[in-house]
Amino acid sequence: MTRHCMRAWLVALLSLGPASGEAQTYLLVVSGIGGEAQYRASFDEWSTTLLTAAQDRLKLPADHIVYLCEDPDVVAGSRKSTKANLDAAVMEIASRAEPDALVVIVFIGHGSAVGGSARINLPGPDVSAEDIAALLTRFPTQQLVVANLASASGDFLPVLSGSRRTIITATRSGRERYETVFASFFVRAFASDGADTDKNERVSVLEAFEFARREVNRHYDTGNRLVTEHALLDDNGDSKGSTEPDPRTGDGAIAASLFLDNPLAAAVATLPDDPELRALYQARQRLEQAIATLRARKDELAPDIYESELERLALELARTSRTIRERETRNPE
């Protein structure tokens, strides 16, 4: 994890230039038509879980969050998830989002792929993958995350794939048309603690995807059922999604550096002004990189040599981290 985080960090430095102190995250959650009461309840629950996490845990400003749903009376400030309102919401965000903002659009609901046209079922006319692709052209410079968590969503991926876009679908094709549970776990990744696998106290988009993917498999396994949904992630713009993204070889590098609480621009670690503290931060970064490098060489080294070197580096890193905390506690900036 550390290795690909570092790579993404480099990518961010190279692609975006100087960090903008004004870059923000904008979240649009679109909950489609449920049909039956059980689905309406599920879609509402998943949407509100994500919205609550966005505000309470990820500290997104309320005016950066837009919620479109089937029944706007249920959640104050929400609007009906019609195609027209979706269009309006996108336009609104596009007009406000900074050039280097992170725009996250999440679709929850039923999907279909009838007659070769991938769609999400909304109140009134459905919205197709092509419709959404057209909407996304309003973000020429921003970093986009589009997560279609509906059934039969896989066919959206090749249509929406592109530069500066991370596309997530709950299924690998339009043929996986049974109801999905991916959404429940994806939103839970942001709402609870279990997804932060690299323990940096933040959940990246890749971590959320991985968490959800594995919990989906566990869900079906525990119930002794066939796995009828296989989520995909594409962030390298090649129109091909990966079920198990590996930042070293394909998809996942960008997603690993995207955090809803801070857009890519802010993923660049800012160094403190205090020279001693600055040196400690740099030392910490070097040690983390050294551990990542050591890990990459694990198979080449004798086990006892690997272990003792890992321990040496980990101890030094631990002491450095402790020193940083002590200093910061004494002199909070």
């Binding site: 550390t2 696998t197 323990k199 551990i291 890992l310 321990e311 980990a314 890193l317």
Partner: protein, 882 residues
């Protein structure tokens, strides 16, 4: 299933009609023929007898008469009919084949051989059949090479002939079928040729019969059944078709097998094949006396019947009559030195009686005697797997399958062995725990502990230590477990013990909460002890009863529990007496009888323990080991007669359950005077406060309507009437829910305590109890409930996390370590966190080395993980301060 002897009876009635038409009244013959084909044997025989008297030279009448008489077992009359024809027509070879077959049915081999030779030499119209019979005589006397040469010549006959009669085609098909033993492709040719025979004469019943037999021998029960049904549609009493159908039913495990063979014997009481088959069923029921009667009858007709002698040997073996057994086996091998079927029968009988090592011995002899005994290789290989000899077992099954690729059992088992190659084996002091590699890390944590505990406790109780290691296999798919046990899918059991090998469903093989794997494992290991101590001679009812009994000793709430169905069966007289209790396991006559038999057998054990103490059990097991019969064991160990014991046990049940029986009132079903409307249910409960079922139904209804205050007294009353009941809809469960809704957590916890003390498989109750106890601050009780839940389902990471936390609070660090290891084994997404928590638990347990190693694993994944960094420093500081 062995091939056995196949006797070919060619019905040549149709062919003979052409000869007849110019000479005899066609109507009379047609009438007699129709009567025969429709199973009106007396009419057919009378008609043919009259015709034969009038026309003593009519060979086809003669043949038909001999055939009809033989078919109903009137062999003496058949002999006479044949001899009359031969005397009246000394130059005619036409009756010699038919006569030879009747002689063969009576064991007169030499005379039969002579008769067939005469038919062949005289170029009788059925000479080809005579030639086949000569070949069969060679085969069944052990001269397999000569027999195969004879059968081989039939292929040339077929290929070179322009047209063969239906009877001749049947003979060719049968010859090719025997050639199929060495070349399994030829079975398809045999089938095609039988079909040709039937096409040539649709009334060729024998060809149809042989098709059915061929399908059955090749494990195709459904096509076999179709073939037999086609015969029985016209002749519902055809003895060989009924016998064939009986075999199909036995193949499918149905109790109808006995009914059908009885019907077969009603038509032909002298059918040695039917007698032998019925005897085999009786041996399975352990009714050796009646089995012997059937065998004696069969051997009285044909003293050389090898299958009958094999069953006789089996009975002598099971009864431990060694000298008689040796004489019988010697005699069989004198008759046919290559009769591997003897040892196949002995192996199968041994395996059915759980004498697996003996089955291996007999299987070995089967293949030594007959290297083409594919069934021999199959029983040998299967039983080698059962005693844990995996390599040799697999090798012999490969041979069996190569020789007989139709054997579904063997194929399934070989496929299963391929699956087992992907399993992980975890060795302990006395066990090899073999499980799916995806589950092994988690499951083996608990299975190893429990298995070792069971061994230690049972060894102490019985004063006996089975050989180790004992192999325990847990299958994630029930179908695989089923194949491991019987070679086919569809077995209803949860586990099986072969003695040194135990196989069972993994907890993931079934829905969560549907069974308790811990009690299942204990049950099967108890079998290992009982089988070992009795050298596998313990009767089924006692071994099952003791195993359930031992479950109850191991943990509260383990072992089968009392349920209303059992009591109603007792009240209605449907329980078996102890002297017949084995039947409940081997041939249950109604679906619930198997389950009731388990519970009943366990009550018998409780009854014995009450009156004679636990030490009676090891003494009983040793008595069975020493070859004593049930009556002798009861007399010698329990000082009682079996019939007296039956009466005393019934009195015991009555006294024990009298009160509960009184509260189980009849339930009318809708359409039979019963109303299931809401008001009717409540009214019924009000009318009779002693009607347990009505009270439970009413209580359940009131709970669902959230009328808790009204529900409470109803459910409390129900509970008091039948306190043992802890099933799915027990009053305990509803009362717990009621109290929980009201916030009376202490009372809810007490109900759940009582419920799970009686039913430790109630997963939801255990988890609910843990939550409530935790909320009430009763940490140890909460931990105990979670611990017990793991024996139902060990793959819930949240349960292990909670139990780890509680264990840490209680300071039981070894358990905390185990639980954190379980979390890690379940492949959590946040591995770094799981490693860190395990490292913390190791520290708590004072195991700094493992703590260090484990926290490094966490930092390897997430170097920036501050809590793990701090723990590493803590460990390092502790090491430095030593």
């Amino acid at each position: 299933m062995s091939i056995g002897r196949v006797r070919v009876f060619v019905v040549a009635l149709t062919a003979s009609l052409v000869v007849f038409s110019g000479t005899y009244a066609q109507d009379e013959l047609a009438t007699a023929r129709t009567a025969y084909l429709e199973g009106r044997y007396d009419d057919a025989i009378d008609g043919l007898t009259r015709l034969a008297r009038r026309q003593p030279a009519a060979s086809d009448v003669g043949r038909a008469l001999v055939r009809a008489l033989a078919e109903v077992g009137r062999y003496d009359e058949a002999n006479n009919a044949a001899e009359r024809f031969i005397a009246a027509n000394p130059d005619s070879p036409e009756l010699w084949t038919s006569f030879g077959r009747v002689l063969l049915l009576q064991g007169a081999r030499a005379k039969a051989r002579d008769a067939f030779a005469r038919a062949v030499a005289g170029r009788a119209s059925d000479a080809l059949t005579g030639k086949l019979e000569l070949g069969l005589l060679l085969y069944h006397s052990g001269d397999v090479a000569a027999a195969m040469r004879t059968f081989d010549s039939f292929i040339d006959t077929y290929n070179q002939s322009r047209s063969l009669s239906s009877g001749d085609l049947t003979a060719v098909a049968t010859a090719v079928r025997y050639l199929g033993i060495a070349n399994s492709d030829l079975f398809h040719d045999a089938l095609r040729t039988y079909d040709e025979a039937i096409a040539a004469d649709p009334d060729n019943v024998e060809a149809r019969l042989l098709v059915g037999n061929l399908f059955l021998d090749k494990y195709n029960g459904s096509d076999a059944r179709e073939a037999y049904d086609a015969i029985l549609e016209r002749n519902g009493d055809h003895p060989d078709a009924l016998l064939g159908l009986a075999r199909v039913r036995r193949f499918g495990g149905s109790p109808e097998a006995m009914t059908l063979v009885n019907r077969s014997l009603e038509t032909n009481p002298n059918s040695t094949q039917a007698r032998v088959f019925r005897a085999t069923l009786l041996v399975e029921l352990e009714d050796f006396d009646r089995a012997t009667q059937d065998i004696d009858h069969a051997l009285g007709i044909d003293p050389t019947d090898l299958d009958a002698l094999a069953v006789r040997a089996a009975v002598q073996f099971l009864r431990n009559e060694r000298p008689a057994f040796d004489r019988t086996t010697t005699h069989v091998l004198e008759l046919n030195p290559r009769f591997g079927g003897l040892f196949v029968t002995l192996a199968e009988v041994s395996a059915r009686n759980r004498l697996y090592q003996e089955a291996v011995g007999f299987g070995t002899r089967a293949v030594q005697v007959d290297s083409l005994s594919w069934r021999g290789y199959a029983v040998l290989g299967t039983n080698q797997l059962r005693v844990g000899n995996m390599g040799a077992g697999r090798a012999n099954l490969e041979i069996a399958f190569q020789g007989d690729p139709f054997d579904a059992w063997t194929k399934n088992t070989l496929d299963l062995l391929d699956e087992l190659d992907r399993f992980t084996t975890v060795p302990t002091e006395r066990f090899h725990i073999v499980s799916d590699r995806n589950e092994s890390d988690a499951l083996s944590l608990y299975m190893t502990e429990l298995a070792e505990e069971a061994y230690a406790r049972l060894a102490n109780r019985y004063g006996f230590r089975p050989h180790t290691p004992i192999r325990v296999e847990a299958f994630t798919r029930h179908a695989d477990f089923s194949v491991r046990t019987i070679g086919l899918v569809g077995l209803g059991a949860l586990g099986v013990s072969f003695g040194p090998v135990v196989a069972m469903d993994s907890p993931s093989a079934r829905d969560i909460g549907s069974f308790n794997w811990g009690s299942t494992l204990w049950h099967e290991l108890a079998h290992t002890f009982h089988l070992g101590l009795s050298e596998h001679r313990v009767p089924r009812w006692l071994s099952e009863g003791l195993a359930v009994f031992e479950e109850r000793q191991a943990r509260d709430g383990w072992g089968d529990a009392l349920d209303p169905g059992f009591l109603l069966a007792f009240r209605d007289g449907r329980l078996l007496p102890v002297s017949e209790l084995n039947n409940g396991f081997v041939r249950p006559t109604f679906p619930e009888q198997l389950g009731y038999s388990y519970y009943q057998a366990s009550l018998v054990c409780e009854f014995i323990e009450r009156d004679h103490g636990f030490t009676a059990f090891p003494r009983m097991l040793r008595a069975y080991r020493d070859g004593k019969s049930a009556r002798q064991v009861f007399r010698d160990v329990l000082s009682t007669d079996l019939d007296e014991f039956d009466e005393a046990f019934e009195d015991y049940l009555r006294a024990r359950f009298e009160r509960t029986l009184a509260v189980l009132k009849p339930v009318e079903t809708p359409g039979h005077g019963g109303e299931h409307s809401r008001d009717a249910i409540l009214a019924r409960a009000r009318q009779d406060p002693d009607d347990f079922l009505a009270l439970v139904a009413a209580g359940q209804l009131l709970i669902e309507e959230q009328r808790f205050d009204e529900a409470e007294p109803v459910l409390v009353r129900a509970k008091s009437l039948f306190p043992e009941y802890a099933g799915v809809s027990s009053p305990y469960w509803y009362l717990a829910r009621l109290f929980r809704e009201r916030g009376e957590l202490d009372r809810a916890a007490r109900e759940l305590d009582d419920l799970t003390a009686r039913n430790a498989s109630h997963y939801r109750a255990l988890l609910a109890l843990a939550t409530i106890r935790d909320t009430l601050g009763a940490t140890a009780d909460a931990a105990d409930a979670l611990e017990r839940s793991i024996y139902v389902y060990p793959f819930d990471a949240d349960v292990h996390r909670r139990l780890a936390e509680l264990s840490a609070e209680l300071g039981t660090w070894s358990r905390a370590v185990r639980e954190r290891r379980a979390v890690l084994a379940l492949d959590p997404v946040d591995r770094a966190e799981a490693q860190y928590q395990l490292a913390r638990a190791y520290m708590g347990a004072g195991d700094r080395e493992n703590a260090r190693h484990t926290v490094l694993r966490a930092l390897e994944i997430a170097p920036g993980f501050e809590a793990a960094q701090d723990l590493l420093l803590e460990i390092h500081d502790a090491r430095s301060n030593r």
